[in-house]
């Protein structure tokens, strides 16, 4: 069985072995193999191509930009997504603008160990996809399955555009798959994770699994909820969402990041504008609460959406 985390490690191994332009740079990614062991043994396997950075997020991203201009394909790891705020300027103002300004693409991958885990607290739990998606020029991937963690990371490395790769820490260890995928959907394509007819849940990342669990619960009541896994939140596959809403007439968007301007808001805005006639009732969203992520597990488990709160919201949606 391959974990989500191991899939990420294997994708990097494959990228390193197949493309000499690839290198890995980040805090503790070298001999130590990374804070989460996502680069374990890669430094040994690929001498001189996997190395430790100083505690300098801004320099890490800035160096990746320079290396990318010179034709390399750096993969950089932020130790936690939350620390990317310290490299924020290089991401949004250098990497993201380079192609538009100069015509030279910036093929960097910034790996962000994202999202909440029990006890993580305000600075080791953030879901930053909406932040990066707001800025033009960044592809923002949010793989929710082992297969996508692998396949999409390889796609990210192959892309000429900068990719913010939001890998979800909650899925690292306990999400497992039998093997690695042979193929992967094209970049930017959403996936129907569960077919249904009564309502559509649009979600991504760890919330896919909470949503799937909620769907099982609702199925016991006879409701068949369709679930769309966005996979990539920028670009967003509006067509797949609209096709689902066309079938169900009801839309619930579930996102772990904060509500204001989050993925859920963006999706609802699109569907309302482009698929207004498809909606039978008001669309709904369910996000984390609009506070920092609390550290105490009892608070945390109420702060983010869970199978229970999703099922509850879906029931309300179904009963309107």
């Amino acid at each position: 069985m391959i974990t989500y985390l191991e899939a990420i490690r294997l994708a990097q191994e494959k990228a390193l072995s197949e493309d000499t332009r690839v290198f890995l740079y980040g805090q503790d990614v070298g001999n130590f193999g990374g804070a989460f062991k996502a680069t374990k043994s890669l430094a040994k396997e690929f001498p001189g191509r996997v190395f430790d950075a100083p505690l300098s997020e801004d320099a890490i991203i800035g160096m990746a930009v320079g290396a990318a201009i010179e034709g390399m394909r750096p993969i950089v790891e932020m130790q936690f997504a939350d620390f990317s705020t310290c490299g924020f300027n290089q991401i949004v103002n250098h990497a993201a603008t380079l192609y538009y300004r100069t015509g030279v693409p910036c093929p960097i991958v910034v790996r962000l160990p994202s999202g909440g885990t029990s006890g993580g607290g305000p600075f080791h739990s953030q879901s930053m996809e909406a932040l990066y998606a707001h800025y033009p020029g960044l592809v923002v991937m949010t793989p929710a399955t082992v297969e996508d963690a692998y396949g999409m990371l390889l796609q990210a490395v192959a892309l000429d555009d900068p990719v913010i790769f939001c890998e979800h820490k909650f899925l690292y260890y306990h999400l497992k798959a039998e093997g690695l995928p042979e193929s992967v959907l094209p970049v930017g394509k959403a996936r129907l994770a569960r077919p249904g007819r009564d309502a559509t849940i649009v979600t991504h990342g760890a919330m896919l699994h909470e949503s799937l669990a909620a769907a099982l619960d609702l199925a016991e009541d006879g409701y068949e909820v369709e679930i769309v896994d966005l996979r990539t939140v920028k670009p967003i596959d509006t067509d797949t969402i609209l096709a689902s809403v066309a079938r169900t007439g009801r839309l619930l968007c579930v996102s772990e990041e904060w509500p204001w301007g989050g993925v859920a808001a963006e999706v609802i805005s699109r569907v309302s504008s482009e698929g207004f006639g498809l909606l039978d009732v008001a669309p709904m969203r369910l996000n984390a609460k609009d506070t920092p992520v609390p550290y105490h597990p009892d608070l945390w488990s109420v702060h983010r959406p869970t199978a229970r709160s999703i099922a509850e919201a879906a029931r309300r949606l179904l009963h309107i």
């Binding site: 607290g121 305000p122 709904m284 369910l286 550290y295």
Partner: protein, 338 residues
């Protein structure tokens, strides 16, 4: 570096006072480690074992009214500044009665209103905050006040370290910035972190006074911090103190630190400052060995009793939380549509 001539000696009483605080921190952290292994802790555990002498020397020379922004490995400094075993355990064990009410945890605890700042994780970030606090005090006409904060060897590589120290130097603020060079940032050794011969070499580039200290040696730490804090208090501007030592524990309790070079462990930086201090107390005849053992027992008793008490306290109740990030609670929106 020996204590300078002009400095008054560190007395046995000073030394013992500091030692006992170190001991409480050490014992408390040993307990935290065992509670962690027992699965009783909420969140991560990052300990300061081996860094007590340097840390305590900061907290012990601060006064009420000063500002202290401790970092990851400052349990000893925290105790010296007035934090308690009770508050510490309440935070680690997730009691609702702790200063952070379950919203933030462990090393992030503080009581900012009392000058005891609550670190954010982003390393370096507390440096400009303390500088700003000192600026505020100056603007309000207060003087003789200092602010101290700590950082690791890794943290010196952050932009925040640079900007914060530089801005403090420009304003000639009474900031004491203590660098605990424990040779590693997580697994990253000094050689991959900086290229200067010694982190002390940074002082001149900021135009601040630099102090170097063998951070396994409590007497040196006490004397050096007393001097540095005194200089800041007297208007000497920012003081950069660099102490050499070794983290005698993993980065966090999840980490076995197997990457630490055995040669470093065997070298002078690898000595245990608590043991060295105890030996010193005994050899100087400041107290007999039995007394030291009694102090440890007292610390253990306090820690154990507090654990028992705190374990019976309730955790935070999500139903009671107002889930408001704004102090003006009317600004909280609840994103209804549900």
């Amino acid at each position: 570096m020996p204590t300078q001539k002009a400095d008054p000696p560190v007395t046995g009483a000073d030394f013992i006072k500091a030692y006992r605080l170190m001991l409480v921190a050490r014992v408390l952290e040993e307990k935290l480690a065992s509670l962690y292994r027992a699965g009783a802790i909420k969140g991560g555990v990052f300990l300061g074992r081996g860094q007590e002498a340097l840390s305590v020397s900061v907290g012990i020379h601060l006064h009420r009214g000063d500002i202290y922004a401790p970092l990851i490995r400052d349990q000893a400094g925290r105790m010296a500044f007035g934090d308690t075993v009770l508050d510490t355990l309440r935070t680690y064990l997730g009691s609702q009665l702790g200063p952070m009410r379950g919203r933030d945890g462990n090393i992030h605890r503080g009581r900012p209103r009392e000058g005891y700042y609550a670190m954010i994780s982003h390393l370096g970030a507390m440096i400009p905050a303390v500088a700003g606090a000192l600026l505020a005090r100056r603007l309000r006409g207060e003087s003789g006040i200092v602010g101290a904060t700590c950082i690791g060897d890794g943290g010196t590589s952050t932009g925040a370290f640079h900007e914060g120290l530089n801005a403090a130097a420009v304003e000639k603020l009474p900031l004491i910035l203590v660098v605990a060079n424990n040779q590693y940032a997580y697994s990253t050794p000094n050689a991959r972190q900086f290229a200067c011969a010694d982190l002390l070499d940074k002082a001149v580039g900021y135009g601040v006074v630099g102090h170097k200290v063998d951070a396994t040696n409590l007497e040196q730490c006490l004397a050096t911090l007393r001097r540095a804090i005194g200089a800041a208090r007297a208007g000497g501007g920012p003081q950069l103190v660099v102490g050499d030592l070794l983290r005698l524990v993993g980065h966090g309790e999840h980490d076995d630190g197997s990457y630490v070079d055995p040669a470093l462990k065997a070298s002078p930086v690898g000595r245990d400052c608590v043991l060295l201090a105890e030996e010193r107390i005994i050899s100087e005849n400041w107290a007999p060995a039995a007394e030291c053992a009694k102090w440890r027992q007292e610390a253990e008793q306090e820690v154990n009793a507090t654990v028992d008490k705190v374990r019976r306290e309730p955790g935070p109740d999500p139903e009671d939380d107002d889930w408001a990030a704004f102090s003006n609670s009317e600004f909280a929106e609840h994103y209804a549509g549900l």
